[in-house]
Amino acid sequence: MQIKRIITIAAAALMAASSLTACSTGDATPTEVTVVTHDSAVFTDEVIAAFKAETGITIKQIKAGDAGAMTNKLVLTKDAPIGDAFFGIDNTFGGVALDNQIIDGELTAVDFGDVCLNYDKNWFAAKALAAPTTIADLIKPAYKGLTVVSNPTSSSPGLAFLAATVSVYGQNGFEQYWQDLKNNGVKVAAGWEDAYFTDFSGSSGKGAYPIVLSYSSSPAFEVREDGISQTASINDGCFRQIEYAGVLKNAKNKSAAEKLVKFLTEKTFQKSLPDSMYVYPVDTSVALPEAWAKWAPAATKPVGEELSISANRKTWLEQWSAIFSAN
């Protein structure tokens, strides 16, 4: 008897503990919507206030790593989702989201950004060396030890560039390109921030590498006091990342999530995108900031649209890791 009672009490206690957070369901008029994003997503105070004024709902943001880590977290937690909506799953991970059925409805495009190599104009001017113009230049001896990229297994621009090389050099040729890059002294940083802020010579870290994997928009943020950007983007081998938003399956506040996704495609939010997230609004009628026209034009011929990334990502990354693994 006693055993049974203790077990019952203990089980009841565990159950009660686990349901503590599940009590807030069933509210007819939601006042808060939880949106899961990647670490670089920003909702400015104006955006949050505008959504509140329009709908009465407060945006609560949960950052969950980079686009890949965030997508996978959403898959692993899909039975009891950690939010109502998501923003920032991109076209390299959209397939994972769809295959695993974490989305209620469809993927809604919100913005895009072009992953391109950037270089430090001052560095090349000082060395009287012509700056590279294609990604094929990076494996030439003249550019030995000058490039830093980010790890494709742990960073979304890194994965985008890996996809770009598959598109340019083909399934059978991209490994050779990376082997050549490695032989030419490419540095692989863990993430975009490491590469851009620590290793790149043209930004705040004043590192040792004058060529960095970044975005076509990055030069707009390196404009110096003379009104000229210290960096430029290489308009070759660029990969266009399209970022999506959507409602999560089993969301507690589905209606609020739907309102938020719609709001993200509307003018107020679209206008905030360039300055707060360095990306281009999907709504082309939204005017870009002045500096962007001059220093941050989108890529003219992005590559990689034809690839089926979710089906091949694992294989490509394994092939890449075989070349770069330190052990």
């Binding site: 937690t77 009891a80 802020f197 705040s204 330190a326």
Partner: protein, 534 residues
């Protein structure tokens, strides 16, 4: 029967939170093509790396630890206690803090850095374990050997080392275990290019959603740790612990003839222990723009550059504080209770059967110690996501997983202490009319008070620094101090790097103060027997 009923609490806790997730992992692991997984080139190279780096780190710790044990425990000099405290600091620091401390040297080859960081953490295990035994060996045999003309080196090899063998093996197995299950250090210092079993488990689960692969590796990792653990147990019979220090006997003053051991030890402490710590302490005051000042500390009130974090570092510290108070309360209560039940004398019939049951219970409760926190976090993720017990969506999941990890340690500390105090007092109390509860409260719990305090310390250390499981289970506003630190160090732009340095400096300073307080406190007159802590 009554005793079985009392067992229900601890057993239910371990069954639900450990054996159920373990079962899920085994189920998922065996459902896939596990053999194919384990022989894939990248996986086998990760397994091989895990083994050799752990073996090499262990060997270096032992080689440096033997002279260290001699100088810091066999001999005597002023400042000795301070040095003992200093080398203990790295052992109790959260591993993420260690990784951040060494991230300043990221220009060096990553594998070298990982091994140095592992030696940094585990050096004191070797020194303390070997030193604890060395301090108790009497000098006479050694002196006789020297009088008979044996050189110092020969005396060391043929007389002293054989007596230290058990301590060396015990320390070695423990260090190997820690290095083989190391996660945060390899993750951060490897820059994503170094793969161990542990990082492969995490990346299979969180990057590739390849649950069968993660589970197969988790099973392998568990077998590996259990083997290391069983090996250590079989050699040492659980008789040696890192808290075992006999301050009783007089120890000779350090003299000129000890120059080699002294030089090795002082150099090790200066370069291996102090240098990385000093670098962090300095960098905590260096701003992103190169100036000096307190800006990094001021920034801790915020959420990092472009509001990277979901909550401020201060709020994460509060989460950690809340989690560790809950997890420590649970692990101390259940652990002490289990130890108490295990230590009850066996009477009446079927002694053999009862002994057998006790042994099974003992092992069953200790097994969670053989599981790495990444494996446990992964098990929780696949077990408590939905289903009958959707714990994952509750913040309690993190303190519960931490309590589970600390529980075996607590039992390991308290059980031998309870055995060592014997039965006389209990019989006396019983004769005087006290019931079991009164006896426990008024007599036994007081006799083992120092051990319980030590157990609380260990439980706190385990919970505060726990990163592997929290990185898989703590989302959004539930971030803990280690997960926030990881977010900051992996997004090092502008203010974030400095903030990570500032938190690291604060944690190192706090740890140093606590460790010093413990090492310099007055020892109680009657310490529990040496075997008490193992």
């Amino acid at each position: 029967m009554k005793r079985l009923a009392l067992w229900a609490g601890p057993l239910l806790f371990v069954a639900v939170l450990f054996y159920w997730p373990l079962g899920s992992i085994i189920g998922v692991g065996l459902s896939g093509d596990w053999l194919q997984t384990l022989v894939a080139p990248q996986v086998s190279s990760a397994i091989w790396f895990t083994l050799w780096q752990a073996a090499l780190s262990t060997a270096i710790c032992i080689v440096l630890g033997i002279p260290g044990a001699y100088v810091l425990y066999r001999k005597r000099f002023s400042g000795q206690k301070l040095l003992r405290a200093i080398i203990t600091v790295p052992l109790v620091l959260p591993t993420i803090v260690v990784a951040i401390s060494f991230s300043s040297f990221r220009g060096l080859p990553p594998i070298l850095l990982i091994i140095v960081a592992h030696v940094f953490v585990n050096y004191s295990i070797a020194v303390r374990t070997i030193g604890g035994v060395w301090a108790t060996i009497d000098n006479e045999t050694e002196e006789a050997a020297e009088l008979a003309g044996a050189g110092r080196f020969r005396t060391l090899i043929s007389i002293t080392l054989p007596q230290l063998k058990t301590a060396v093996v015990s320390a070695g197995a423990l260090i190997f275990l820690f290095c083989a299950t190391s996660y945060g250090i390899i993750l951060i210092l490897g820059g994503g290019l170094v793969n161990s079993v542990e990082t492969e488990i995490a990346s299979a689960a969180t990057l590739f959603l390849d649950l069968p692969k993660a589970a197969a590796l988790a099973i392998l990792q568990t077998l590996l740790t259990i083997a290391a653990f069983a090996f250590s147990e079989s050699i040492t019979k659980g008789a040696i612990g890192i808290e075992q220090v006999d301050e009783g006997g007089p120890r000779p003053q350090l003299d000129k003839r000890d120059w080699l051991a002294t030089a090795v030890t002082f150099t090790t402490i200066a370069l291996l222990t102090l240098m990385p710590i000093l670098v962090v302490l300095v960098r905590a005051f260096v701003h992103a723009d190169g100036g000096l000042g307190l800006a990094n500390f001021v920034n801790l009130a915020g959420r990092g550059d472009r509001d990277l974090l979901n909550i401020s570092v201060g709020q994460a510290a509060l989460n950690t504080l809340r989690n560790v108070s809950i997890s420590t309360t649970i692990s101390i209560t259940l652990g002490t209770f289990s130890a108490y039940l295990l230590s009850r004398p066996i009477r009446g019939k079927r002694v053999f059967a009862q002994k057998f049951v006790n042994r099974v219970l003992d092992i069953g409760l200790l097994l969670p110690m053989g599981i790495s926190s990444v494996v446990l976090g992964f098990g929780f993720l696949i077990t408590f996501g939905g289903g009958p017990l959707p714990l994952r969506s509750s913040w309690l999941i993190v303190p519960l997983v931490q309590a589970l990890m600390a529980l075996p340690l607590v039992i390991r500390l308290v059980y031998p202490a309870l055995i060592s105090i014997g039965n006389d007092h209990r019989e006396a109390a019983s004769t005087a009319g006290a019931n079991a509860g009164q006896t426990w409260w008024h007599i036994e719990s007081r006799m083992i008070r120092t051990v319980i305090v030590t157990a609380i310390g260990y439980a706190l250390v385990v919970s505060i620094g726990e990163f592997g499981a929290a990185s898989l289970l703590a989302y959004g506003d539930q971030a803990t101090l280690p997960t926030v630190l990881y977010a900051l160090i992996s997004r090092p732009g502008s203010t974030n790097y400095g903030m990570a340095m500032a938190v690291t400096a604060i944690l190192i300073s706090m740890t140093f103060v606590l460790v010093s307080a413990v090492s310099f406190r007055k020892k109680p007159q009657h310490r529990p027997s040496q075997n008490a802590v193992s």
